[in-house]
Symmetry: C2
Subunit: 558 residues, 2 copies
């Protein structure tokens, strides 16, 4: 069951749902003509179908291995990576001054989606490098940029992000990795980092780590964190990978999924590092990296959902069981109403999450092009897109298993791999709980301005179902604003999900307005069957933390 | 993080929620005194904690293997099985005339829950034998009963059920395995069966297969299916395992979870079999086996939910991240509102599914004791309990991963295994979609009498939130009854889930009435946060199949 890149649906979204033409008309993106964008999407679709999709199962069954301190990647991954790098997919949105294409993040987002559907384990590699490129563009010195960016944009070198430590996960401020000044202006980095995706591998000639660490006498918590660039091999003056730095891979994690992506425990033993940005301002730089990655991870959820859906649909269109309950059916289980319901739900969720990811990407592009309101909109959308997109990935992959019946849990079928691979997406780059806390905390610190502006957009559709829903969500937002922070946190996840449901309906309603009959039917499915869930989500959100502390730890364990 | 058997919560459910005393007061179950039941539950809890729980991880990492045609089980499984058999847990509810304890199915259900939490892979073995014992008790000749039941009740021999074939899964009627009469009154069984749990192993001296097959010239479909008993070794006159039958294990499946449970492809090559029940009446016998198994699988979902919850709670009570947002907290992530919300939701779902499973078991016991109304109630509850219980297993295991953060997807942590192990429970013994179709099809064929009787019970609580919810569900049921069958099928799953939500609330309200403060808080959580979901479920149910066929297969693939 081969992967088929959904270039046409992506194009439809760009044209009819998320207003990509606004990005194209900005002077910054004048190169992003429709012809150019279409050429890239088509080429990306072809590479994903032909070069990457065949690697998906290989990565799962023949995971990356640690051999004598070096990570050996799954068979074929190096060639797949080469195809990605040579097509320029690492640097679609990177600065042309350093070898990037300078195209909108929207194009990167669409290409990432297809790469992730084809082979999520491998896609995670360029995703990390993309984030690193953007971070260096924003925060690094010209010397660092000149030395590293040309290597990163071509994909000759790869980037990683090193945040987590055993005692510092969601609480980044608890990290203890040390950075001590050397006499030459560089720093000696010492400590252990965990969960480092693609922390080492044999597909590139150098690997560049961005590492959060703490300077001597730095303030406690997040205010005392600085960001350092720590290359695996220290470049010589000509930019060739030189001597090995004092860092190593201690071990690889044995994970539920993403077996093709080596997740490393990294040890830094006085490794030479270069400060990126200012001392103790590492969190700001990290957020550049994280925000990019949050959209990227939202898309990973979407990617897996699309892959799992195609896989399940192909199965359903072949599998015969029982008599068809409808005239003129296919004779397969697709004729059965409950299977239809599952397929429609998958498709409706996928469309909503794709539209949301592209909406966010367009908004980020508009912000980059100078639209100041867009920045606030993007900031509000980011946690919603990340949590919703990844929940869609988990849900759709799970439904995909169900459609396969007994074959769904047989590993050779491939349905289960989607569910295993996507699971971590709801956890990394900030758990979905952290996303929701960001939404009701930081993202409502504007007094709800960004939230209300989005709800104005919903009401502007003039849709008779959406308008009352927007009003209810407005009221819920006002209720949230009146609560103490920890009360908000108790209702944060359902609040986020209610917003996602309503925004999803907006995207569907816009798609239906195109006049396409099938899109209208899908929109109707979403509005009549899925949107009503928002009421229960809002009811939950309004509960806040009420009652959550009524049970003592002993009661919880009873 | 060791498993702790929830004997006290089970006892509470029996005493305060599901009216177990009605079973105890039936003459058939006069042996089931509170002392006897408590002794069994306590002993089962001890065995599960001490002998079975340590096997759970072993089964996952060292799966059963096929060696020279014989299945070798995971290390320690044989001893674990011996502990189960010697304690009599295979035959708690079996007929004392053949070595059973003759105790209510309710007791079996409670013990199965604990065995499944401790080691689901291993629990599946006695669960299969329990179903076989019940089937033979109902449908086998005295000669067969005399020969087989004493061996099965002691656990010396194990039982399996052989239904599925590659082309016949949900559509059992499509099976083609042949049964040809031998001259001695036995039959020669030939064909291939797949997904046979514990189809072979080295823990018992004989394995007894119940096999659905088709006699020569049998009617097509389910009306031409007969049930046969096919032993691995043909017993001699003294009941000792004799010569090997002509059947073999072709291969073991490589599954997402339940690695400790060998899932076999079985080949029957003219194997000698004995007819159970009448010719072409195999479906009736099969339903005895299936209905038992459906409650059993509902409990598997509950089992895993309980195991995953205990595992996640223990982690949350140890893991420190960030500052506690509450005074007098534990200093761990349990203090965080969103973690609390997840733990409360897990606990509320677990309680509801435990109560539902025990309610169903009690109802089946009452039916067995002669209560004619109870049979209809049990028939209606069975698909709800199966689908809801297993969805709870999947949901709670998934939430358990989330609470672990990054560690949730690291296999050594154990959180992911719960999710992998439980996934198949929503598929086997009839997918949850099939359960829902059974509910709105067969189980509403009484004109809704059983459904309305249950809703009468809900209204009888007099609860101000439950009563309008019951009325809404009554109206939804009436709407369903007015629909054509395939329209009902389109809304079947959400209809089933709405019923589960409402029944869950009833159990919680009853528990709260006990006066226990923590139970009252948990009930409030369920009623205020989870119950409102039933509205959206009913809205979906009322959609029926509307719009589900609007998209052509090409549209679905677009």
């Amino acid at each position: 069951m081969p992967y088929r890149a959904p270039v046409s649906d992506i194009t439809f979204c760009l044209d009819h749902v998320v207003g990509f033409e606004r990005v194209q008309s900005a002077p910054l993106f004048e190169e992003a003509t429709t012809d150019v964008v279409q050429a890239i999407l088509t080429e990306a679709g072809r590479i994903c179908e032909e070069a990457l999709a065949p690697l998906n199962r290989v990565g799962d069954t023949q995971p990356a291995r640690l051999e004598n301190g070096v990570v050996r990647t799954s068979p074929g991954f190096a060639q797949g990576y080469k195809a990605i790098a040579e097509a320029g997919f690492v640097a679609i949105s990177a600065d042309p001054a350093y070898g990037g294409m300078g195209l909108p993040l929207t194009v990167t987002t669409a290409v990432n989606e297809m790469m992730g559907s084809a082979c999520l384990s491998l896609e995670l590699n360029p995703l990390m490098t993309q984030g690193q490129i953007e971070t260096l563009e924003h925060h690094a010195s010209d010397a660092i940029k000149d030395l590293y960016l040309p290597k990163l944009t071509t994909g000759e070198w790869c980037g990683t992000m090193n945040l987590t430590e055993p005692q510092a996960g969601s609480d980044v401020g608890a990290l203890i990795t040390k950075a001590e000044p050397n006499s030459d202006g560089t720093y000696a980095i010492s400590g252990q980092k965990i969960y480092i995706s693609w922390g080492d591998h044999d597909m590139a000639e150098n690997i560049v780590h961005l590492v959060l660490a703490r300077l001597p006498d730095a303030p406690k918590g997040t205010k005392g964190i600085s960001l350092f660039l720590v290359p695996k091999k220290i470049p010589d003056a000509e930019g060739n990978p030189g001597v090995a730095n004092t860092l190593s891979v201690v071990s690889l994690e044995h994970k539920l999924g993403l077996h093709g992506s080596p997740t490393c425990v990294m040890q830094y033993d006085g490794a030479q590092g270069w400060l990126i940005g200012e001392e103790n301002k590492g969190m700001a730089a990290m957020f550049t990296m994280m925000n990019n990655a949050r959209l990227g991870v939202a898309v990973q959820g979407l990617s897996v959902a699309e892959g799992a859906y195609q896989h399940a649909l192909a199965f359903a269109l072949e599998r015969k069981q029982g008599r068809s309950p409808v005239d003129g059916g296919t004779g397969t289980i697709v004729d059965h109403a409950d299977v239809r319901r599952m397929l429609m739900e998958m498709k409706a969720e996928i469309f909503a999450s794709r539209a949301m990811a592209l909406d966010l990407a367009v908004t980020l592009d508009l912000a980059k092009a100078g639209d100041t309101q867009a920045a606030a909109r993007a900031a509000f959308l980011t946690p919603i897109a990340k949590a919703y997109g990844t929940e869609v990935g988990i849900k759709v992959a799970n439904t995909g298993i169900q459609i396969h019946g007994g074959m769904g849990v047989i590993e050779e079928t491939g349905a289960a791999q989607f569910a295993r691979d996507v699971r971590v997406s709801a956890i990394y780059e900030g758990t979905n709980g952290i996303q929701a806390m960001d939404l009701v905390g930081r993202k409502l610190m504007d007094g709800g301005a960004a939230a209300f502006a989005l709800l104005d957009e919903v009401e502007a559709t003039g849709n008779e179902v959406l308008t009352p829903m927007a009003q209810a969500l407005r009221k819920t937002t006002e209720d949230m604003l009146a609560l103490d922070m920890n009360e908000r946190f108790g209702g944060a996840v359902p609040y986020l999900m209610a917003f996602a449901r309503v925004l999803g309906a907006v995207y569907h309603v816009k798609a239906a307005a195109s006049g396409d009959k099938a899109r209208h039917s899908l929109a109707r499915f979403h509005v009549t069957r899925l949107l009503p869930e928002a009421h229960a989500m809002m009811a939950q959100a309004r509960c806040g933390a009420g009652g959550l502390y009524d049970l003592s730890p002993d009661d919880l364990a009873a």
